[in-house]
Symmetry: C2
Subunit: 147 residues, 2 copies
């Protein structure tokens, strides 16, 4: 078995796992009226302190229209605050409201519980090696595949 044979297997599994995780995440976040993507945006905002949409578009590799709509929803839900950027009138700064932070903590608690269950039985060193592998793949796919 040579390198080219592993590629489709890896892609297939990544797609399959990604889909399963997305659906599990949606289920897990249902009580908060958030889905996995919305959570990841809220998480990014919380983590950054304050952030502009463009940086999330670049980091998370999402459609800007998509991010825009999620930001709108999160704002309407009262989870984030939008402040005009004094230096660039096209842009604005996003940050979580106290309510948003509170929801985040609740979400993370549930997710942590869920994580504990699936890592159960997997060796710590293997987890580390998986994380490293995924870091590699992430950068490979993120930087785009050149012609």
């Amino acid at each position: 078995m040579n390198s080219e044979d592993f590629a489709p297997v890896i892609i297939g599994k990544l797609l399959n796992i990604g889909g399963m995780l997305q659906r599990s995440g949606n289920q897990l976040l249902l009580p908060f009226n958030l889905n996995q993507q919305q959570f990841s945006i809220l998480f990014s905002i919380e983590k950054a302190g304050k952030v502009q949409q463009k940086s999330m578009v670049n980091q998370l590799m999402l459609e800007k229209a998509h991010v825009s709509k999620i930001v709108k929803k999160l704002s309407e839900m009262g989870l984030i605050e939008i402040k005009a950027d004094s230096e660039d009138k096209r842009s604005s700064w996003l940050s979580t409201t106290p309510e948003g932070s509170k929801i985040m903590k609740q979400c993370q608690k549930i997710i942590t519980e869920w994580n504990k269950r699936w890592i159960n039985g997997i060796d710590k060193n293997q987890l580390k090696s998986i994380a490293d592998d995924l870091t590699l793949l992430q950068s490979v796919f993120k930087n785009g595949i050149e012609k």
Copy 2:
């Protein structure tokens, strides 16, 4: 850093990579009027020779309603054939038409080219270890996380 710290990192990366691959796949398959999910169903049918919806629902962990709609679309596109199951009138057997097989081959050619580009520079042994890691994760997530 202990096991619990790796979990959210791994999940985050898997979700991110899964999303990127899905979007790349959709782009790649655009000329064929298929998206990544539709392709994966068509691929499953081609690979199996003949198959029923239920087995794809179980293997790919997709919503049965979703599979049903994709099957309808593929059939309307003339890529698959639907034959009644003589033993169970609720069910039917799916198989690719010659046209479907032709399209599949074209898709796979493009995907193979794309794969060659991203595996470029990654060691074969590392690819093998990534594939093994993903097999583990796939089974962990597929079998569901028990309470």
